[in-house]
Amino acid sequence: MNKKKEVLLEIKNLRIEGYSDEKWVDIIKGVDLTLHRGEVMGLIGESGAGKSTIGAGAMGYARDGTRISEGSSIEFDGMELTTATESEKRALRGARIAYVAQSAAASFNPAHKIIDQHTEAPLQYRLQKRMEAQEDAMDLYERLRLPHPQEIGFRYPHQVSGGQLQRAMTAMAMSCRPDLIIFDEPTTALDVTTQIEVLAAIRDIVDQFNTAALYITHDLAVVAQMADTIKVLLKGEEVEEASTEEMLKNPREDYTKSLWAVRSFESPQRQRPKDGVPLISLQNIDASYSSGPKILDDVSFDVYEGMTVSVVGESGSGKSTAARVITGLLPPSKGEVLFKGTPFTHDYRDRPKDELRQCQMIYQSADTSLNPKVKISEIIGRPAQFYSGLKGADLKARVDELLDLIELEPSQYYNRYPSELSGGQKQRIGIARALAAEPTFIICDEVTSALDQLVAEGILRLLDRLQNELNLAYMFITHDLATVRSISDEVVVMQQGKVVEQGAKDDMFKPPHHPYTDLLLSSVPEMDPNWLTTLLEERGVENLGDAAAAKIAEK
């Protein structure tokens, strides 16, 4: 590491205000930041910490509904951005400071070819002619190890996979060889196996061109691979800043330590009853949407009473489709779902109430799965009324009891609307709604992945307590192996609609495994700052992500 210690970006006393409820409130409350040429700084914190706002602020850009307050100073290579005119700032963007967004799928314009979006900035700044810019794009695609670098740019964004798009976006950020790139959670929306290829590509390219970067993420293990220094943020304020190694070894502040210590929760593993009948049993299920290709191919697994089965796999592996088959939303084309040994009706529309009540679902996004116009009491009360026929005082007593179960004070929450609740509280309401039917089996579809780690941990503890008290069985759909480790009793690994491996949790986290399970497990970033380097040496740069998964599928 022989990087010039020349200051590139200096932010002093940055305050950014946001407009909400008809008044301006501080979102960023006086943050200082110094970034040298060629240096990578990680900004980490939970949602609402203001990481992305600072990232955009570093480009002198305030998102709609926010403004940079007076007295803030953002100095980029000698130029003060807070007093610069709009066109002066615009001349920097794309050319000298570039941005890589969280979701490449949403941040590429669906109406234009990838390469036309890539060459837009170089053409606009008249740095290159169109043909030169296209050749340069292909060269960058090759450096980022995108397949078919000569022609991939001529596709439309929807014709390219998520991991490839994210790399194409990194290439696009490089198009004018900027001095600084803001990476705003560039791998959060990706599967772990795909994440690695993007991380490796970003690190390579930043090294090759000695580009400075602000790397924004909530994932400590990821930032440990990428950053030279780490700054921890909480609610718009800096908690502490130190070099990556120092920060990992000796975090000073309590908040930082608490971030490091999450996922300490692990529920003890339960064993299958000796000769019991499984509560839910999938038997050789095939399923597909309308007449499309098979999404599930000969899937079988069992869930026993009071136990948790985690189903893991990449997006598109058929996890959620399996859940839809069990609940009857998607009748299988072959096979049976058995409930305590007797077949479930295929289509939910034909199921009697007693079958319907057995399987309930909790969804990933509590924001979108709760009706914003309906009071909490009604959200929870409706299934209680529908399944148990409760009315009046009985119904209210039942809703109170359910609110007690999910650790929310009934008198306080009974008459509230979902929008008045925090993300974790909304997810608790989702749990209460599932419990209202008095089910024996609950499908949890990525229930913690939209939540911050500390909040997610609270939800996992709650689910575990409820399981012990009410003898519930869970099917946990997740791509987060830390969640698997903390809550499951058994694990089912799926790839491309097939079950590749299943077994008890303790066995699954010990070798030997199916190669795909190995790939999944080894792709989860670890806190060790050398983890990525070591892994790349072991696996080789050509054997990452999609390529590696495809190889296994071929065998």
């Binding site: 001349a91 963007r93 794309g94 967004a101 941040s107 590429f108 314009n109 596709r155 929807h158």
Partner: protein
């Protein structure tokens, strides 16, 4: 491309079914009208024998569904029967008039659609500015004033006070195209004022709706200037709703022009329809309704196809 052709084929088939249903409704609604057509044609003084003879001649003595199929079979070949008032073929009565209406609609559309879209882009770019508000107020005023009122105001200023354009849009044989444009300018302008607001506001809303998308923010952070952000990044994704509103308004230009034609004494199909209704000339009424329905269906079909063609996911499947 095969998929798109299939989609278009399905839409076209559906359109035909709808047209068939509408033809049934039109035919039997006219059937339900009170009064006796033969009586209306011959007047109060007609004798029973005369009435019976006329009924037989017009086929009114046959059951309704037999007459329906006869009518439909001929209508497919654009033969809508003979006018009961003048005895001429319906197609000759309304053919020329329909062409006039089409001409006026095209004239108005050629002005209104580009003006509405360019204005929509400008107000989206300068949203919440004075320009945006003034444009909003003006277009809202024009859309909420009745056409006849707008028409008379235009006549008052452009024809009576300033004498720039003729107040009456009468057509004569052998007039030059320039003369034609000049004479029909005021009715066309009235129609433009009526339809521009709707299309402009939809363009504005469709574009502003997209401005919160991540790819718009990405374009801004790439240093793309504001106008280019809207024209190059927002507009291509906003076509579907815009095209739909444009199609609806084009349909209105053809089917909703009755008042404007009356105000400017323009020999279009709307006037023919009004005349026919007052004279109980039922074959003409049926033909007009059928033409209006077909116009609506065709334009909506065109809007669907347009929306499909502007969707990159459908144009470039995986």
């Amino acid at each position: 491309m095969g998929d798109i052709l299939k989609l278009v084929g399905q839409r076209l088939g559906l359109g035909l079914v709808i047209l068939l249903v509408i033809s049934i409704i039109i035919f039997f609604m006219v059937e339900l009208l009170p009064g006796d057509i033969a009586q209306a044609v011959l007047g109060q003084g007609a004798t029973e024998e005369n009435l019976a003879a006329l009924r037989k001649e017009m086929g009114l003595d046959k059951p309704a569904f037999v007459r329906y199929f006869g009518w439909l079979g001929n209508a497919i070949f654009l033969d809508f029967g003979n006018s009961v008032v003048t005895g001429e073929k319906v197609s000759t009565v309304i053919g020329a008039r329909f062409a006039n209406t089409l001409f006026l609609a095209c004239y108005a559309a050629v002005i209104a659609v580009p003006v509405a879209i360019v204005l929509g882009i400008l107000v989206a770019l300068l949203r919440n500015s004075i320009f945006d508000r003034v444009a909003n107020v003006l277009t809202l005023t024009s859309i909420s004033s009745p056409e006849f009122f707008l028409g008379y105001i235009l006549i008052l200023y452009f024809a009576v006070k300033w004498g720039m354009f003729p107040a009456i849009a009468s057509l004569s044989e052998g007039m030059s195209f320039g003369e034609l444009l000049n004479r029909t300018f005021l009715p066309a302008l009235t129609l433009v004022l009526v339809v521009v607001a709707h299309m402009m506001r939809m363009t504005r809303a469709a574009i502003i709706n997209l401005l919160a998308s991540p790819y718009i923010e990405m374009a801004r952070l790439k240093g793309v200037p504001p106008l280019k952000v809207i024209v190059r990044h927002a507009l291509p994704n906003a076509w579907a709703p815009i095209i739909n509103v444009v199609a609806l308004n084009l349909a209105y230009l053809i089917t909703g022009v009755v008042l404007v034609e009356v105000v400017f004494v323009y020999p279009g199909i709307g006037q023919a329809l009004v005349d026919a209704v007052s004279k109980r000339d039922f074959p003409v009424v049926q033909a007009c309704c059928l033409i209006f329905a077909a116009t609506f269906i065709l334009l909506n079909l065109a809007a669907d196809v347009g929306a499909i063609l502007t969707n990159p996911r459908l144009r470039h499947p995986k």
